[in-house]
Amino acid sequence: MTTATASRPANQQWQIHGRRAFVNNLATVAMYLAFIVAVIPLGLVIWYTIGKGLARFSLGFLTHSMAGVGSNDVNGGVYHAIVGTVEQLLIASAIAVPLGLLVAIYLNEYGGKAFATLVRLLVDVMTGIPSIVAGLFVLAFWVIGLHKGYSGFAGAMALSILMLPVVTRASEEMLRLVPDPLREAAYALGIPKWRVILSIIMPTARTGITTGIMLAVARVMGETAPLLLTAAGTLFINTNPFHGQQEALPLYVFSSAASGTPADVNRAWAAAMTLILIVVLLYVAARLLTRRDALNRR
């Protein structure tokens, strides 16, 4: 600290010259550049989708299906796709949310060391399973294996496989944030463990868990590949998720884009914009919920 032991005089400590200063400045510029480079595609995608989407978007687009609409006709809409997406997401959530919550409760509240570690690893690995593999599994197991054929329900099952690990991990994180004294206080009152979990721990973590579920829904909402193999898509309104092929918003975007006619591509942009709007709304709602969450307030 003293000038006697320091290698340079104290007044020069903050002045770095020559190559080192140059490299440091270069690195700073590189970091800023990396960020800008990363944001450019985001801006382009959003800008292009909204720009192209708004040109075709209308109320009629939301309230009409593609029944009797050719790929060169300029009318038609996404009503059938929205019906399908909503039904499939509701069913997928009905399967994945309770299951994911139970797994999370096991991992955080009950889990023995070895088994819980294994399950946790597998849940993480499941997060990385390509969505098309989930689709292939339901295809092999349900559509072909049990001869059930394509349906919205088959699609929902594939989506639930993708949702399950997300719901589980998010809920586990939230359960972990519940302070231990709360548990101990409840035990001290003589409440059985299952009751403590259901009536005290879960309500405390509720907001955070809700956020996690919304993020999981937003995540699978844009999944196309598994639905392609299971719900298979249609031009018509099919309100019965258990019978017959069903459309979904991402499927609609895919088939319209793949068709390639100008009218279809315009519809694809408008549907993509609808999809992004719903996903962003879900994300914003989830973030707002997080802010109100007592456990996450730091």
Binding site: A27, A38, L102, G190
Partner: protein, 334 residues
């Protein structure tokens, strides 16, 4: 509602010694515990079932395949006799993923370091969210954008690479096919790079944030510049975690279906000319070929999906283990 048998531990009224930590002594058959454990076991069953059903439905076509599945470069599983192989697809999958990583890694690392060290404190969290937003855009939207916007707009750049760097075998362009818009492996890789960037950036950011601030302060106290601090104090302890993040990104790139399917379209040839039209991946082939596939075709597609499943499973298990180990080493997880 309560258990009828008197027990020790939570739920009992009997006074006892003060139990510290979680009440492990409560060894009794609790129905709710059983339910949650069954749910946890279902995760194992599900993963096993995925493997079993893919194998079961892949076998019929593999049995009928007249050529070696791994080395054949044709795809006509519904022909008589059926001929198909995964060589072209596996090659395209690995090639496009590696190019995507080469593009994405420097940018993603830069972003992570930027958000953790360089960005103004107040903005850092929000800038992090902004990058996370990249991951929220559905892959089909990236596909649509890649096909309609990127393919024509990247033509000039592809042509520039081909004319100026054509001496690199990957960039060579016989017959000058890059002078028109080309739905090439390169474009697909750029789209993939955009999609894996937020994955790598998010994991790296978390890992970098967990580095002991004492290390950074020590480096700065020794007179290191900010970059020298990043290079000597921040990056070395984060390396395993970052590698794990990169592998997760690899897993995502290997399995990405719809964006690649839209950008590449259908073709079936091995080509090292990444700037020229053509190329295909396992996942994209499933999406593009599924509509016209017959019974044997679907089974053959399931066989390729099985290969993809095994590939991504291996990559993910290794990635998660690496991340977990690095977390343990830093004392974050027991």
């Amino acid at each position: 509602m309560t258990q009828s048998t008197p027990t020790i531990g939570p739920g009992s009224h009997r006074p006892g010694p003060i139990v510290t930590g979680t009440p492990r002594k409560a060894r009794r058959i609790e129905p709710f515990r059983g339910i949650t454990m069954a749910a946890a076991a279902l995760v194992l069953v599900l993963l096993a079932a995925i493997a079993i059903f893919l194998v079961a439905k892949a076998i019929p076509s593999l049995g009928k395949d007249q050529k070696n599945f791994f080395f054949t470069k044709v795809w006509s599983p519904d022909a008589d006799p059926p001929l198909f192989g995964i060589a072209v697809l596996a090659f395209g999958t690995v090639l496009s993923s590696i190019i995507a990583l080469v593009i994405a890694i420097p940018v993603a690392l830069g972003v992570a370091i930027f958000v953790v060290e360089y960005a103004p404190r107040r903005l850092a969290t929000w800038l992090g969210y902004l990058i996370d937003m990249l991951a929220t855009v559905p892959s089909v939207v990236y596909g649509l954008w890649g096909l309609i916007f990127l393919v024509p707009h990247i033509r000039g750049f592809q042509h520039f690479l081909a004319t100026n760097f054509g001496w690199i075998p990957l960039f060579s362009d016989p017959n000058n096919r890059t002078s028109v818009a080309s739905r090439s492996i390169f474009v697909a890789s750029v789209v993939l790079a955009i999609m894996v960037l937020p994955v790598i950036a998010a994991i790296s950011r978390e890992v970098l944030r967990q580095v002991d601030p004492g290390l950074k302060e020590a480096a700065l106290a020794l007179g290191a510049t900010r970059w020298e601090m990043v290079r000597t104090a921040l990056l070395p302890p984060s390396r395993p975690g970052i590698i794990g993040g990169i592998m997760l990104g690899l897993g995502r790139a290997l399995g990405e279906t719809i964006a690649v399917a839209l950008v590449l379209g259908t073709s079936f040839a091995v080509s090292l000319h990444i700037l020229q039209p053509g190329g295909n991946t396992i996942a994209a082939n499933i999406a593009n070929y599924f509509g016209e596939a017959g019974k044997n075709g679907r089974s053959a597609l399931i066989a390729t999906g099985l290969v993809l499943f095994v590939m991504t499973l291996a990559v993910n298990v290794v990635a998660r283990t690496v991340i977990h180990r690095s977390a343990v080493r830093q004392g974050l997880v027991k």
